[in-house]
Amino acid sequence: MSDPTPADGRTRRFRLFRYRRGDGAPRSETFDVPVGASRTVLEGLRWIKVHADPELAIRHSCFHASCGTCGVRVNGREALACVAALDATTTSVTVEPMANHPVLADLVVDMGPFVDRFTEPHPLVRPVEPAAGPAMSPEGEPHERFEDCIECGLCLSACPVAATDDTYVGPAALAYAQSLLDRGEGDRDAILDWADGPGGAWRCHAAFECTEACPSDVRPAQRIMALRRELVRPRRRR
């Protein structure tokens, strides 16, 4: 099939964060990747792994911003590598792992602690939600769709509060709590108590970096603000 390597041999320089447990401090390493083989950051990382260094540790799955597996920092900004487009004039790019997540190796972070923030009091299965739009099912029910949040962790990486306070549950978990309240799902009082707790919604400094970083238009910061409005309303307890 077609060869992505351009005939003119032009390359762009990838500067990557490298780290192995037991190898001492992280270092940076550069690779020159054919421009045509790196139309996105993820294509470039794949090219390096296949053609230059099979030891490079990376995460990816869907390649279209639907799974949330390939979150990294590109030139210091949070991005999903799979949709971080590199235009033909870009000659260099720096790729680092997400911040505020434990780094296991190179660009691979441990998602366990991030996911743990969702576990209480939230149900672990994220139910499908009604889809917006005119189309209805033949039975007249609204169609269902998956939630927008893809649990990529970029919001936590971008969060200035999480950078200094690892007890803060962070934007994704709070936004999810708000979405449950919005839909009338889950134990309302338990969710509000949790969001009112020491690592909860009041820790947010309203920097809105999470909303800026979110690749899926969840708008976590706006949801945290909505959650706060719920928290200051008088609660009806049964």
Binding site: P4, H60, S61, A105
Partner: protein, 396 residues
Amino acid sequence: MSVRPSRLRSAHVLIVGGGGTGGALAHDLALRGVRVTLVERGEFTSGTTGRHHGLLHSGARYAVNDRESAVECIDENLILRRIAPGSFEENDGLFVALTDEDMAYYPSFLEGCEATGIPIEVLTPAQALSMEPGLNPGLRAAVRVPDATMDAMRLPLRFFATAKRNGAELLNHVEVTGLLIDQGVVGGAAIHDHVTGRDAEIRADIVVNATGPWSESVARMAGVDVPIRPSPGVMLAVRGRLCQMVVNRMHASGDGDIVVPQRALSVVGTSSWVVEDPDDLGVPEDHVRRMIEEGSRLLPAVADAPFRAAWSAARPLIGTRGDADSGRELSRTFKTIDHADVDGVEGFVTITGGKGTTLRGMAEVCADVVCRKLGSDEPCRTRETVLLPHTAAFAA
């Protein structure tokens, strides 16, 4: 075949490959009480599984030309909805006919769905347009089928999550570098851990090769061949939900004949060709253009929808070199190979072919083979076992 007493409880099975098939197999074997280790050289689902367009097949796509696959799909479709609630947008699918050629295919399509037990509802074009206003208004016929949208990573991760809870050891970023072979018996694998940089050996009574389009290269480590052709397809994601149901073209398989709504995206698929190396696919520009051209025949808004991503994924199709040029001609069914029977190599089983929709069924058939080799007829329990949430796969 073994006639000795069952070694099931003392045996160790090593699964190579952390895609949907490997995950479902780990889950199946763990439920049957087998000690399982699974190794995946990258992130789970990073090879082929996670890259698919997210269609839970009704089987209707294969009802005419590949009835074995069609039956597998509809059976598994109904089982998966039961064991993985919340992991599907249960919005059904439409097959729409646009041309004279499509209309000529229509009777065989209806007959194929009937013969394979796929429940359908014939709609008028007006009914179809009222359900999906974005459809090509020139459609000639439409049939509703029980397709659905799945999350291509999170559905398989529920198998991993449940396997882990039941004691399976699941290791990502761990690559098999060779097989341990003693006098024609495979007894484990040499591994390299990309996170720690460590090399080690894992001993096992049976090694299962569940590496999809890579199964040929893993089989070669045991000195055997498997009849697999890595057949990539290009997919295109555009922003916006251009439809709420899955929209398929009613014809024999072709490029750009499906649009799957998924979150706030619409995924248009697919093309098909054949490669030697599934690691190095590329995304041919002309295939992306075909997706836009053909996709917009189904849903005109595809032509102007904002681009989100284009990528390739390699299917593991069963067939030998020279069987097919495009991969379209190859069946989507799956195959379990006990290399003791075929090649005289004991302790090594390959499971390959198949589709995302049939992951559980593939695992059941393969686990039956593995258990028989261990002298056990322990039954499969995955049809009834509701899976844990995907997040449990990441939990410590």
